[in-house]
Symmetry: C2
Amino acid sequence: MEQTVKAAKEASLRSAVIETEVKNRALLNIAEALKAHREEIEAANREDLKRAAESDLPASLADRLRLDSHKIDSLTDGLKALSELPDPVGKIRLRRELDENLVLEQVTVPIGVIGVVFEARPEAFVQIAALCVKSGNAVILKGGKEAASTAAVLNGVVSSSITAADSRFRNAVQMISSRSEVDELLRYDQYIDLMIPRGSNRLVRYVREHTRIPVLGHADGLCHTYVDAGADLKKALRVTADAKCQYAAACNATETLLVHRSVARAFLPELKRALDGRVELRGCPETLQIIDIAAACDTDWDEEYNDLILSVKVVGSAEEAVAFINEHGSRHTDAVLTENAETAEFFLRNVDSASVYVNCSTRFADGYRYGFGAEVGISTSKIHARGPVGLEGLTIYKYLLRGTGQIVEDYVSGKSRFHYKDLT
Amino acid sequence: MEQTVKAAKEASLRSAVIETEVKNRALLNIAEALKAHREEIEAANREDLKRAAESDLPASLADRLRLDSHKIDSLTDGLKALSELPDPVGKIRLRRELDENLVLEQVTVPIGVIGVVFEARPEAFVQIAALCVKSGNAVILKGGKEAASTAAVLNGVVSSSITAADSRFRNAVQMISSRSEVDELLRYDQYIDLMIPRGSNRLVRYVREHTRIPVLGHADGLCHTYVDAGADLKKALRVTADAKCQYAAACNATETLLVHRSVARAFLPELKRALDGRVELRGCPETLQIIDIAAACDTDWDEEYNDLILSVKVVGSAEEAVAFINEHGSRHTDAVLTENAETAEFFLRNVDSASVYVNCSTRFADGYRYGFGAEVGISTSKIHARGPVGLEGLTIYKYLLRGTGQIVEDYVSGKSRFHYKDLT
């Protein structure tokens, strides 16, 4: 493992300075190779699926494991789109003349070595490797063991495609395959700059709790929708149904609905009519006085269902709704439905979540929907990157200072003075 | 302690939305109060100094512990300057129309709760508290026990000054005083969003190794200056002397000098003449063949002296210098001295450090010298903030999305389409 992480570190220094067009060529090479090796990939995937069937893997997992011709086409389309995005590296974010002939620049650079742990979704292997190639980072990937055969083929395809574009990409994408190697990986905080776990809450928590490497991602997506006193109830019904049902297993689906007391008697019966049969509703005592649904218990307010279940609570004010969200939410995505502009702005300002919405579905929290073109994941962390993270989240910056022999003593003694002039 | 961190969390939610002019008034209140309580502060500081003298504290530490009238004046000047800086919170970094009446904004917000651990420099207490007030964060501070009396008075002055400006600042600045409380603090990763240790390598390492909270700062400042084949040797001598001697205890002072073989015979005797007596020089075998100085041992290349000691190594090329720096440096600040533009750009691109310089002293790595107006510290981390960190490093962003009832299903079904239009 030490050899792997050291090789990644060296690869990261080489990848950091690879030219935009070479990186884009590497991405297109991967797309070509995926098409060329389509049969080999599908055969390996059938092996994984067969093993999964034998070990009674749940159908939902088996579905994620499948890499069919359609998914390969999406992958190659994605790679082409990624090659057309602007290079996130080398952007000059600040250019400042500190003094004559002493010019400071802040320029974006790759982070370095990224470790990625994900579950049995083979296309994630390609997507994440491609994002790292585009952003000039080296990456060490660990996928779920269920996808081992597919991942082995994909790893070969990706590695040979990028080194064919430029030999400096050697070891820029590496794969490890056993769980024990993950534990080892998490110990190399001197070589790995960022860990990105993508998968279940349990996986993300495990990574967070077993490493000193910074972690980007989210364990929980406990999102709220608040139907305010000023809500347009027809709109509210439609948005609530979308936020819960459009894809209930997504991290940005709404788990808890808060309803202002003044509209509860009008809204809740409509809600029950609209969702009954599709969604299991669980109510607070006040909700139960209005509609006949199951009672929510204390743990319901802190649970991400990832399923067609919605807990419903009546609140007395927008302030109460905001306080409830800041206490029980996971700082992922929360929405207010209201026609009252003042309440809307109060909610936007005071809810401490990565994404805060007015009059739309929490399901919009997604890098593609935000127009980022590519998504690394969604972060609920409070530093570096928050919310849907695009390529930019895989970069940091460094400062370049170009002088002509300047020394600090001249500025301390007063012989020279900084004049600070921002250049464009 | 749980009460303290919970109170900080609540305070952070209130502070996050306090208006710019109220925050600035709070800063000016602190400045006023420092002047008004000058005698009380100096008396408390004399107590600390007396205890320090009794316990044989080293003179350098006692010097840092001293908070005299002059330092109080600097503090009040600094507070005034800080109040005049732009508010880092509420900046709209992106405004994008995703579709008609569906507008996304990325807006800067405070991080939340900051934990700061520093050593016996009482003015740091005020400076850091002020930076947190300006950026809308809540802060829990722990200073060195040597400064306990001074810190207690300063804590009272700061707390009452900010709550006088606005009661929402209640508990926004809190102090803890014992070392055991630090260990407890480091466990509250669910309440504290960022730790900033400021002090010795040992302190920074201790914090990093005992918490899951993200840490901003630097343990080591192992900076290099490389005198290239293309260097103007007269300039190089002057810059090297400044980089080593201007303030040898600073993290951005140069510890290792790399000299290109082709100029070693011309440069090294000059270097010895210029620094002899002031600086202890330790050379690699090739250096020793040219000048008569002490021999460097293997550990010299990985040591931050924080003192008037300079290790000197001859290298064969800019590539070798860059590789040596990337292996032995601490990714803080490194400089090349050369008149060769190509070598300069090669060095800037390939050295993986927070600050990379051409033809100037490594001592320039400082938030004030970069024109940031205020400095949180210098970071050698690869995420969030790198190099000298200004107020911006105490902020993150959130996404606001304002709609009129949009649902995701309409975009998935193709009924609606995003059109992505960046607004200014």
